[in-house]
Symmetry: C2
Subunit: 264 residues, 2 copies
Amino acid sequence: MSTRAKRGATAAPSRPGRATGAPRYARVADALLADIERGKYAVGDLLPPELDIAEQYGISRYTAREAIRRLHDMGLITRRAGIGTTVKATHTQVRYTASISDITDLLHYSKKTQLKILSEDWVRIEGPLEPLLKDAAGQRWLKFSTLRYPAGGEVPISFTEILVHPTYERIRERMHEPNATVYRLLEDMHGETIHEVRQEIGCTALTRKTAALLGARAGGPALYVLRYYIGKGDSLMSLSINTYPQDRFKLSTSWRLDRRGDDR
Amino acid sequence: MSTRAKRGATAAPSRPGRATGAPRYARVADALLADIERGKYAVGDLLPPELDIAEQYGISRYTAREAIRRLHDMGLITRRAGIGTTVKATHTQVRYTASISDITDLLHYSKKTQLKILSEDWVRIEGPLEPLLKDAAGQRWLKFSTLRYPAGGEVPISFTEILVHPTYERIRERMHEPNATVYRLLEDMHGETIHEVRQEIGCTALTRKTAALLGARAGGPALYVLRYYIGKGDSLMSLSINTYPQDRFKLSTSWRLDRRGDDR
DNA sequence: TAGTGGTCTAGACCACTTC
DNA sequence: AAGTGGTCTAGACCACTAC
């Protein structure tokens, strides 16, 4: 009980389980983590209160909190004042993540593309659209038919149909501006943020009509990408239906291993 | 001063008292964030030392640290003892992330699939393989040709060629086990972890040979997915080349907005 | 040697939840 | 009223980096 502070940030490269020269909070965090993995605290259980943990390990409340914070950063627990600390998972659920800085990153490598609007009209959600927009069946949505070109290029990358919830019809006013994108207009004009994008990728054969628009061979293979743009509270704001003919576009994603609980 | 602690985490709408109602560290973090965005501290600059910030805002070092921690959690700064706090970015670089708990999640919705190995041999990286594995040109890699079936199904989902770096040839021993996956065997048998997966998605037309294996129409559209499995230090460990005929498989990804600096 | 961030203590008041 | 996590203070020693 005499040894005071141990040391600052030493090498101590996140040896899982080991705990020789690591800070106290890290050792306590490892101990708690081991308890959770061993099942001493099951999912749904409460961890002991901070003061109990502090007493149990002979540390101050600050250090106990710092240990618990690690578990929180790993996403293993939730905390609520008045309730306590609840175990939510025994292992870090997410191991790999992919990141983008901007939704545009989903669309094309090069952000330097241009959208050409072929037509703009109101459509009723029925027929082939209905399975894509079940919850909006019968509603009238704004629809843009577009081609996307590389900067200065003559050959389109994709044929894209964009459906927009009627609430946001004002974006029509500025949709023809160069470099306009639906989601940016939604943010600018309606103050709405895209909270989530759900993307579904498949393949298809080009119809005669689409092939003609894209200058590709009818029946040829094409990437078919649906993107649902979802706002606050799971509200669907927009849907885009993209068709990319073979070899004009490649979708790349990089998934990286998370090391959240280790260093920081 | 006399005023001690302010308050806990409250909503506190428009109490005309002092500041907004947010904790002090949050207000200070916002102020620092504003300074960074305004350019008062440019990228590469050092933020003032903790004690200066504490003095400047009339708070304790703990509270100043807590404020700075938020900026760190947002990825805007790096900190080093003896040096100081360096501004690394003015805005959170990553806004949207997608997560998976397991690499298997990349492959198919249902994890209940079975791999059938058609053949296994050593191939030299040349010819059509060379552009995919430039750095390994001329090397001999282990290659598996496989079909993946849904649990109990008769119709394959995909034709997959798997290339494995010669270092890891031992996985051959257990590759035929049910539910074997390359990356899990790499972890089990060689103690190597996949640090990153790079995925490239395109489309193609089925060759006669592949179509025959898959029981699909030659020339029909197919998803073409390359996955590079990368270990520590950017070392390429394995590559898989997947061909999914139309309608047998859909790739889904969900990108969520990060809200790291806001609540927690 | 001086100054930085990293760790730690011992206390305190607060808001929230449960009894 | 009691107990929880959330916030905050005023101090301290440490390891690291620069001078």
